[in-house]
Every structure is written in structure tokens, then in C-alpha cells.
């Protein structure tokens, strides 16, 4: 695990790859585009391999390792140059960084490839803080926001700290804490489908905690958590909605109103 400060970070590169993730691809592409804009503004060229699909996490966590390996393996060859691979999702980044090497444990060649890739994988906010070393200029109106960090992002990638570090650069943004902040939002991939009653209870508690802060919106660096909570709120006919962290950062700092 990447305990804070334990990872060695390279200098800012000229180019990076973007791994968009399957959820962002289909359900929140604007988050992917915001990531591209944020990176490009730092003078970094963003390469988007067209053959990318999914990191393989859904099958891996559901107990279908063979299928997970097949899909993961299809991603291994997509990033041939030694550029960093930026993932705007903590849990997908965690899968590629921590689980890829063990997924191919019985094939030394593939494992070497997986390990080499894992070394270059960065969650977006981690990359912005530690590699691109951005300094953000806030151009938005005063706002209160809450932050929900996915569990994998928090425990495998330290994303909660990176997200906070970025938001702290925004002068007019106040980040408020919510009750049981480190607790899971109930998404858990296929868990939300298999155990809807429990998952709903967890999601319900999380949206209550987020709303209680009085924040105008909540942010998450993971599309899965964000979608799960937003759709829960929509079902409750609640106007409170969350945004992907990348989208929020881009909107606040580019002066663009929101639409890409």
C-alpha cells in the first residue's frame, strides 16, 4: 500500500497516458474530459489508447479471476512508452497498482509486465499533487463542499489526502467533514446488486451524513461511489448531487460554467 510519503514520485513528464475506466467511459465521460483538461493545462500531452476497456476489477472482486485476468491482460500492452498512466478513479488505480502483479503471479513474463505497468499507475489527484505539483487558482464563487473518498482509493492509494490537498488550494472553497467520513458508501461494485438492502442502508446513511454538513455538493474521485450516491439521492427526489473531483476542479479553475 502507498502509505503517505512512501512512494517515490518522478519529475513532471511531457506526456502521460490516460486510462479512462469503464464507468467513466459510459456514465461520466465529462470527468474523463476534465482530467484531460487539468493535465493539458500543466503542459502535459495526454495519450488515450483507443483499445482500453476496463481494469478487470469487477470480475476480480466477484470471484472470477480467469475473466479478470483476460481483461487485465488486454490492457497490459496498451501503454508501451514509459509515460505515467493516469487513472481518474482510486479503486481502478488501486487494482492496476496493487492487484495486477498478484493476478499474474503464475506467469513470470506477464507478471513482470504487470509490475512494470503498476509502477507507472497514478490516481489522478495523486499525480496532480505529487508529480504535476499543480497550483490551482480558484475562479469560482464561495462554496462549501464535502468529500467522499472511495474505500479502495483511501486504503490503497491515499486519495483522501490528495483530494484534500487539491481542494485546499481553492481559496473560496470550504471543505466540510461529514459523520463517519471514512465509512463505505455501500457501492462495492456487484455488492450493490447482490445485497441491495444492506447496500441501500449504507448509501442512505452516507447521503444523510453528506447532506447534514450543509454543503452545496459533494465530491468524489471515484465514479462508482458518486453514481451510487447520486442515483440514491435522485430516487429520494433530492436535489443534492455529487460531482467527480476532476470536474469540480476544472470548473472552479477554468472559469467554465460546467458543460464541456
Amino acid at each position: 500500500m502507498d502509505a503517505a510519503g512512501s512512494r517515490h514520485y518522478p519529475d513532471k513528464p511531457a506526456k502521460v497516458y490516460l486510462f479512462g475506466t469503464c464507468l467513466i467511459d459510459m456514465f461520466c465521460p465529462e470527468a474523463g474530459m476534465s482530467a484531460v483538461h487539468l493535465l493539458e493545462r500543466e503542459g502535459i500531452e495526454v495519450l488515450f489508447p483507443a483499445d482500453q476497456t476496463c481494469c478487470g476489477q469487477p470480475a476480480h472482486s466477484s470471484g472470477f479471476p480467469e475473466q479478470a485476468r483476460a481483461v487485465a491482460r488486454a490492457q497490459l500492452g496498451l501503454f508501451p512508452e514509459p509515460w505515467p498512466v493516469i487513472v481518474p478513479s482510486g479503486s481502478c488505480a488501486g487494482t492496476m497498482r496493487h492487484h495486477y502483479p498478484e493476478m499474474f503471479a503464475d506467469d513470470p513474463q506477464l507478471q513482470a509486465k504487470a509490475s512494470a505497468l503498476a509502477e507507472r499507475v497514478f490516481e489522478l489527484s495523486e499525480f496532480l499533487v505529487h508529480v504535476a505539483r499543480v497550483s490551482l487558482a480558484d475562479r469560482g464563487a464561495p462554496a462549501r463542499v464535502a468529500l467522499h473518498t472511495s474505500c479502495a482509493a483511501r486504503r490503497e492509494m491515499g486519495t483522501h489526502e490528495h483530494g484534500r490537498a487539491l481542494l485546499a488550494q481553492l481559496g473560496a472553497v470550504e471543505v466540510v467533514l461529514h459523520e463517519h467520513e471514512s465509512e463505505c458508501c455501500g457501492f462495492g461494485g456487484t455488492f450493490s446488486l447482490k445485497h441491495p438492502a444492506i447496500s441501500s442502508a449504507m448509501a442512505g446513511d452516507k447521503v444523510d451524513a453528506l447532506k447534514e454538513t450543509g454543503a452545496e455538493t459533494f465530491l468524489s474521485a471515484d465514479c462508482g461511489c458518486m453514481l451510487s450516491l447520486n442515483h440514491t439521492l435522485q430516487k429520494q427526489r433530492d436535489g443534492f448531487q455529487g460531482q467527480h473531483l476532476a470536474t469540480f476542479l476544472w470548473q472552479r479553475t477554468s472559469g467554465e460554467g460546467g458543460q464541456q
Partner: protein
């Protein structure tokens, strides 16, 4: 009120019970409050994360080392205990364990056995076996006494009656304890329990206890407790029977302090418990109290199955602190009874399949969002989320080549689910098809089904965006 001992409710009805539990506002509130209390107490014990990690690393090392030498250590323990005058028994399963204990009790014409806290005795359902033999088995830990009096099972391994309010306990005592008046004073309620149980300690022929650590080099059984009922059970009756899983052995006495220190801090946020009771044998000639006869029952009950696989073996590192359940968002929502197993929560999800088989338990490893809170707090660093994933795999597939099948291997196999994941893999390994699928899904997003299984129970349906990121990025390249 239910006066019969509850049978183990099958784990297969887990979902139904879980749904009932999350709808129970009182239960939700009491578990949330209790778990928050325990979480905060634990956190206060570990102010320095670096120091905590070094303690966890040592504890994990000791447990792994002990397990690696398990057969030798068990033999050494048996030898030492035998030298100390303790009779050692081995039981492959629950039935054998109960038969051994019932046999000892019958030899002593036992009418009453008082029990200290022992999860293994719950696991083998000893109370049923004793009742069938016409022998009273009375729980003496206050929490266990309360749930037994109400015909229930513990809902937490450290705090058995955590699901009950003091009002419920007040009513229970007033109804069931002769001479007890209704009182909501916790001190008075404990006083009632104390008075009843002191009588029982005096009259019981046998005391039964669990074991927290068994030390091979000295033949010492260590018991951790706050109340003193464990000391009563192991000292006052003429016969003491200890029952434990085979994994509890450590080689040396010096291995105990690091484990003990983490156990109490992780469990209840206490630096130490009131009593740490180290028993190395029955009373010697000249000693005026303590049991004249002592037994240890070593129970397998599926543990050797976990031991047989190098990854699953780490399940046996567990020292039963309960921190994984205290920190589990699922356990916090549904409480211990919903699991239908002796050990609830994350540890229960990974150990119950070995004890009861995957046929009965395959749903349990799926009852986790894999948030990782359990693994993060585990004092002996059991990688619980990884083991949950592994058991999901074993439940849905034949055994890996070169691995012995687990009990109930493949119990959740489904052609439909296999086909879904194979189809998923086929799509996600063919980029052109994947892009075409994305193109279609976005163009026909208006046709997204309004009901999406479990997802739409409390959420609006997922709907694809107008364009995929792939398309947006491809357009940029063209421009």
C-alpha cells in the same frame, strides 16, 4: 418471549434476515452507537500509527510462526499439559467435542456445568448436547447469561448482549429471575446476575472455559476477562474443562504479551483486562482450592481445511478480538444475528465456510463491499478482503488445479452467472466490439431498462451518457 434455545438459523437465509435487520430502526441505532463507542475506544489506544504497525507486524509474525509449527506445537502442548496433570482430548468435529465433554460430565454425575465465555463451545453447540444429556449448562459471562436467559445467541463475540437495551434486560430479569424486581439501574441489574450466578458457582460440579492463548513451552492456558466469572468457572468447581480451537497455540510465554496487548486494545480499547488468568494444571497436593481434575479439548471442526491452503491459512491467525466486526459497515447495519453463524461479521464470513461448508455459507463472503476496514484494523493483519474474494471464487468454481476441494466447493456455481462473466470478458477483451457496444448504448440510452435488479431498489436507473469518453477523445484527435 422465546424460552427455547435457538437453533442456528441457516446462513442461506441471510439476505432475508439482513433485510429485516436494516429495517429495524432500534437495532440500527443501538449497533451504530455501540460500534462507534468501541471504534473510538480502540482508536484512543493507538495514537501512534507507526507504533501500531510495528506491533501488528510482530503479532502477525508470531501468529504465522506459530501456525507454521502448529503440529509440533500441539504435540508439545499436549506433552507439557499431560506432565502438569491435565488430560488432553482431540475432537475432529463438533459432535466429537460434545461427546467428550458430555462423557466427562456423566462420569462425574454432573447436574450443573457453569460456563465461562467460550466461542468454541457456541460453535460446537455444546449447550444443546448438554441439554440432551439432561445436564444444565449455564452461561456465566453477564452478556452470555442475559442472551441465554432470553433464549438467544450472542450477537457479538466480545459483547454478546450488545443488541439489548437495559430496559429489555430489566424486563427479562423481572420476568425470569425469581425474586428480581424491575430495575433499570445497571449496577442493580449486574447485582442480580451476580447473586444468581454465585449460587451456581458454588453448586456446579464442572466449570467450562475457553482459551485465548495456549502456551506450548509451559503448558499454560491463558484466559482474558474482566468479570471474574472465568476465574470462578476454572477455580470453584471440582472439574475444569477448557475447550479451544487447535489454532490457539503459541510456542513461548514471551509470545503472549504482544498478542495480549493487541487483543484487549483492539477489542474494547482497554490497555489490559481486569484479569489475565494463566492456568497450568489442577491443584497440587496441599493447595486448598482450584479444580482437582482438568481437561483440555482441542477442536478441529474445519480448521485443518483452512490450514491446508497457504492463503486460507491466514484465517487461523485470528485472536478473536472482534475489531473487524466493530469496524464493518455491513455488521453495523445488520447486527450479529443476521449472519446465522456463531462468528458474525468479517471473521465469520471467512471462517464459517470451513466450519459449516460452502453449501450453507456461500452467501456470507459476498456480504461485503470489500471496503477493507476489517483488514485495516485486524491486529494480526489477516488480509480479510482477499480471503473474501478467494472464497467467492471457490464457491463459484471447481477447486483450483492441485488444490483439494473445500467442503461445499462450487456450491454457488451457476451457468447463468458463468455466462455473464464470460460474455463480459469476451466484450472487454475485444476493443472494437467494446467501442461498438458503447456507441449503441449511448445512442439508445433512452431505452435503458428502468428496473435494474438490486441497483434500483433504492436508486434511479443508471443511464449511459450521450457520448462515451472513447468517442469524445476520438473526436478531439480528429480535430
Amino acid at each position: 418471549m422465546n424460552t427455547q434455545p435457538l437453533d442456528f438459523v441457516p446462513a442461506s437465509e441471510f439476505k432475508q434476515r439482513a433485510s429485516g435487520a436494516v429495517a429495524d430502526a432500534h437495532l440500527r441505532k443501538s449497533f451504530r452507537g455501540a460500534m462507534d463507542f468501541l471504534i473510538n475506544k480502540r482508536a484512543a489506544q493507538f495514537p501512534d500509527p507507526v507504533a501500531l504497525e510495528s506491533q501488528r507486524a510482530l503479532a502477525e509474525h508470531i501468529r504465522k510462526y506459530s501456525l507454521a509449527r502448529l503440529p509440533e506445537l500441539l504435540e508439545q502442548l499436549e506433552r507439557k499439559l499431560t506432565d502438569n496433570g491435565v488430560k488432553v482430548h482431540w475432537a475432529e468435529n463438533a459432535e466429537e467435542a460434545c461427546a467428550i465433554i458430555v462423557g466427562i460430565a456423566q462420569r462425574h454425575s454432573t447436574k450443573l456445568m457453569v460456563k465461562g465465555k467460550s466461542m468454541v463451545s457456541e460453535e460446537v453447540e455444546l449447550n444443546h448436547a448438554m441439554a440432551a444429556a439432561g445436564i444444565d449448562a449455564l452461561e456465566s459471562d453477564m452478556g452470555e447469561y442475559i442472551v441465554q436467559l432470553d433464549g438467544e445467541k450472542p450477537s457479538h463475540i466480545i459483547m454478546p448482549a450488545i443488541h439489548k437495551t437495559k430496559q429489555q434486560i430489566a424486563r427479562l430479569f423481572a420476568d425470569k429471575v425469581p425474586g428480581a424486581r424491575y430495575t433499570e439501574s445497571v449496577d442493580e441489574l449486574i447485582g442480580i446476575g451476580r447473586a444468581v450466578l454465585r449460587e451456581k458457582f458454588m453448586s456446579a460440579e464442572i466449570g467450562l472455559s475457553g482459551v485465548n492463548f495456549a502456551v506450548a513451552e509451559t503448558g499454560t492456558l491463558c484466559l482474558v476477562e474482566n468479570e471474574g466469572n472465568g476465574r470462578m468457572c476454572t477455580t470453584v468447581p471440582e472439574v475444569h474443562i477448557a475447550i479451544t480451537g487447535i489454532e490457539k497455540v503459541v510456542e513461548k510465554l514471551e509470545h503472549v504479551p504482544p498478542l495480549f496487548g493487541l487483543l484487549t486494545r483492539s477489542a474494547t480499547g482497554q490497555a489490559i483486562t481486569t484479569y489475565f488468568n494463566m492456568i497450568s494444571g489442577p491443584r497440587k497436593p496441599g493447595e486448598k482450592d482450584g479444580p482437582g481434575e482438568m481437561h483440555l479439548v482441542l477442536v478441529d471442526n474445519g480448521r485443518t481445511q483452512a490450514y491446508g491452503d497457504e492463503q486460507l491459512r491466514s484465517t487461523l491467525q485470528c485472536i478473536r478480538c472482534g475489531a473487524c466486526m466493530n469496524h464493518c459497515p455491513v455488521y453495523t447495519r445488520i447486527g450479529g444475528h443476521a449472519y446465522g453463524t456463531t462468528y458474525p461479521g468479517p471473521i465469520g464470513e471467512i471462517i464459517s465456510p470451513h466450519m459449516l461448508g460452502l453449501n450453507a455459507t456461500h452467501v456470507l463472503p459476498t456480504a461485503s463491499s470489500l471496503c477493507g476496514a476489517c483488514g485495516e484494523v485486524c491486529p494480526v493483519r489477516i488480509p480479510i478482503p482477499e480471503l473474501l474474494v478467494r472464497l467467492r471464487e471457490e464457491a463459484q468454481h471447481d477447486a483450483r488445479p492441485g488444490h483439494a476441494p473445500l467442503r461445499g466447493q462450487g456450491a454457488a456455481k451457476s451457468r447463468l452467472v458463468d455466462a455473464v462473466w464470460s460474455g463480459w470478458a469476451a466484450l472487454y477483451t475485444r476493443p472494437a466490439f467494446y467501442r461498438a457496444f458503447g456507441w449503441l448504448a449511448t445512442r439508445f440510452r433512452a431505452l435503458t431498462p428502468p428496473m435494474q435488479g438490486g441497483w434500483t431498489v433504492s436508486r434511479t436507473p443508471m443511464k449511459p451518457a450521450a457520448r462515451t469518453l472513447h468517442e469524445l477523445m476520438a473526436e478531439r484527435t480528429k480535430r
